[in-house]
């Protein structure tokens, strides 16, 4: 089997690793480069846990043959912050309790980063569409959607999440607003 050297710019740094024809970008990142942020949930393109940015676009890295990304730019969750200051999406996930077990979180965050790069002011529907390839079995998605809308507002320079303009159902932020007494929906 031919082993090829794959060069890429990973989170802004030049990297190279060896790949066989069957090596996926996910396994290259994890096993060759030691970048464990992207997760393997299914290895068949169904769960989104392995989402990374390939030349700026979100891809499921478990389905990308590593040899095809030679010369590309790859972004993973590890590249989003220096460990001191979090990205707006990361901070919004943290503040919004948008993680439980955390296994879907890196992929979810990368899908959100890609969305906000191309659309700084998404509607709830657009957020739902953007994360429709990311499975979360723990949260029920509502806090994730709220956090992404919140991150969009932070990136635009407004401090709080705007009420999403959608006529579909109640805005998800309401479930997290404190209210007098108890609510049945949380």
């Amino acid at each position: 089997m031919t082993v090829k050297i794959v060069n890429l710019k990973l989170n802004g740094v030049d990297k190279a690793f060896m790949a066989r024809p069957e090596t996926t970008l996910l396994l290259g990142l994890r096993e060759q480069l030691g970048m464990m942020g992207a997760k393997r949930g299914c290895a068949q393109g169904a769960c989104g846990s392995c989402t990374v940015l390939l030349d700026g676009s979100p891809v499921v890295s478990c389905l990308v043959p590593a040899v095809t990304v030679d010369g590309s730019t790859v972004g993973t969750v590890e590249g989003l912050s220096d460990g001191q200051v979090l990205s707006d999406v990361q901070q919004a996930f943290l503040d919004g309790f948008a993680t439980q077990c955390g296994f879907c979180t890196p992929g979810m965050i990368m899908s959100a980063e890609a969305l906000l790069e191309r659309n700084p002011d998404p509607t709830t529907e657009e957020v739902q569409e953007a994360i429709s390839g990311n499975v979360c079995r723990c949260t029920g998605y509502e806090p994730i959607i709220t956090a992404i809308l919140d991150a969009a507002a932070r990136r635009r320079g407004t401090t709080a999440a705007t009420t999403p303009e959608t006529d579909e159902g109640p805005p998800p932020t309401t479930a997290y607003e404190s209210s007098e007494g108890m609510r049945a929906d949380v």
């Binding site: 096993e31 949930g41 846990s49 979090l86 943290l94 993680t99 108890m182």
Partner: protein, 459 residues
């Protein structure tokens, strides 16, 4: 920003010693920063240059005798290091609940002369790469003689059903009985004196937890024969003890590193991957990973048990339930796992939070040729509740009584004798219903608003 609902402190203020200073205020999860930065270390997030992989050859039949197993082709696959059969498992028969004294050991780690469900593990293949392990596992040849399968809980208990278990019955034996039983008062007398008798049947399908991270572990040989197990088990010590018993080695030989679980929901409480990975690591003296594929997670990891429940109630015209008879069947699948315990929980939950003078229940833990079921979020209780509360709604509809009033009329109160012969205390069903009714704007008549859990019921 996340906000939290207020805690309602209005009720039982005099009974409470806690100040609730933590509950009701936002507190950052200690693991969330790791989650959002990708630094949280799941079991698989470590690389070993010489990591070997385990894959399994599984049964293709619901029920069959194994006539022969041929691993010679598997061993020819480049990269395959070993095959593991039941001969390599020191104490092959086990039951995870043995740690709390439950018997018999009814499940083999690897099948011996029989398979009892589709997907039952027969041979484990250890290889240099995942691909070689998959290839090797696919080349194991098993010849079978198919046997009649039992796929329904009630059929499994019929006298002419084939007995699928080596211990002689298609049900778990509870202290000499065919079921976990409740006998309280006399239900037949209750039915005779009732104005109405209602009987309905409820059933549920198995439910897969489908955690986003599949079940798995990496076992790394240490100096002095010790094994370090990186696992995503929900129960580190439970796993350690059961694994040591299966390996027939002292507990001190094993160290389990866990605690980070990519979704469990009860599905990562069985002890399935660790024993085989330990055996593979010992035989090859290499770090070994055994992790379920998504397909295995969906197909062979144990789901929530399917249940079938018949409830027969004797009810007076005013809605008082005077007798409740429950026939409950839990589908344990081919092996026990946690289901004998789940079935006991179902029994402990009957007849629901209601005071009923005559109760009779038989809760069966039944073996069938289906995927073994096990723990999942409130197992035993959840489906029983679905049945009980559906039953309450149907009675209310049949008698044209408000469903909340029907529940309030029958709600247990402090001091009531429960069917398990324990005196009820700390009850709060009445107050919860009253509050829920107020929140949704459901008006209750004054006599129902005046009810209280701490006031003894009028005879």
């Amino acid at each position: 920003m996340a906000k939290i609902n207020e805690i309602d402190t209005e009720f039982f203020a005099d009974e409470r010693s806690s100040s609730f200073t933590v509950i009701g205020t936002p507190a950052q999860r200690s693991d969330a920063l790791g989650h959002v930065t990708g630094k949280t270390e799941f079991f698989e997030d470590r690389a070993f240059p010489d990591l070997a992989h385990v894959k399994i050859h599984r049964s293709v039949h619901h029920h069959a005798r194994i006539d022969s197993v041929d691993c010679s082709e598997a061993l020819k696959v480049p990269g395959v290091l070993r095959v593991i059969t039941h001969h390599d498992v020191p104490a092959n028969w086990y039951l995870v609940l043995r740690l709390i004294g439950v018997e018999p050991h009814d499940e083999p780690v690897l099948a011996e002369d029989r398979v009892l469900y589709v997907g039952e593990p027969i041979v484990a293949v250890v290889a240099d790469t995942e691909a070689a392990a998959i290839e090797g596992a696919s080349r194991v040849k098993v010849s079978y003689t198919e046997l009649p399968a039992v796929l329904d809980v009630e059929e499994a208990l019929s006298p002419d059903a084939p007995v699928i278990k080596k211990d002689g019955t298609n049900y778990f034996v509870y202290e000499g009985h065919h079921a976990r039983r409740i006998r309280f008062g006399d239900v037949e007398e209750g039915f005779a004196q009732a104005d109405h008798v209602f009987e309905w049947r409820y059933s549920s399908a198995p439910i897969e937890h489908a955690p986003t991270e599949t079940t798995g572990c990496i076992v790394v040989p240490q100096s002095g024969n010790r094994l370090l197990i990186h696992s995503n088990t929900q129960a580190a010590f439970f796993t350690l003890d059961n694994t040591a018993l299966i390996l027939d080695r002292p507990f001190t030989d094993l160290q389990v590193k866990g605690g980070t679980v990519g979704g469990g929901f009860g599905g990562k409480v069985d002890v399935i991957v660790e024993p085989l990975a330990c055996i593979a690591a010992t035989l090859t003296n290499r770090p070994v990973k055994f992790v379920y594929s998504r397909e295995e997670e969906m197909q062979v990891s144990s789901p929530r048990a399917a249940e079938r429940i018949y409830i027969k109630d004797g009810v007076m015209a005013d809605g008082r339930i005077v007798a409740r008879k429950v026939m409950l069947y839990v589908d344990s699948g081919a092996y026990s796992r946690h289901t004998p315990y789940g079935t006991t929980k179902a029994a402990a939950h009957l007849p629901g939070p209601y005071t009923i003078p005559n109760v009779h229940a038989d809760c069966h833990c039944v073996y069938t040729n289906r995927t073994p079921s096990s723990a999942m979020r409130g197992f035993g209780v959840t489906i029983a509740d679905f049945a009980i509360e559906s039953q309450m709604d149907r009675i209310a509809r049949a008698l044209d009584i408000d469903p909340l009033e029907l529940r309030l009329r029958n709600a247990y109160r402090d001091g009531d004798m429960k069917a398990h012969r324990k005196v009820a205390s700390g009850t709060a069903l009445i107050e919860v219903i009253q509050r829920a009714a107020a929140l949704v704007g459901h008006d209750l008549p004054p006599e129902y608003l005046a009810m209280s859990s701490s006031t003894p019921r009028e005879a």
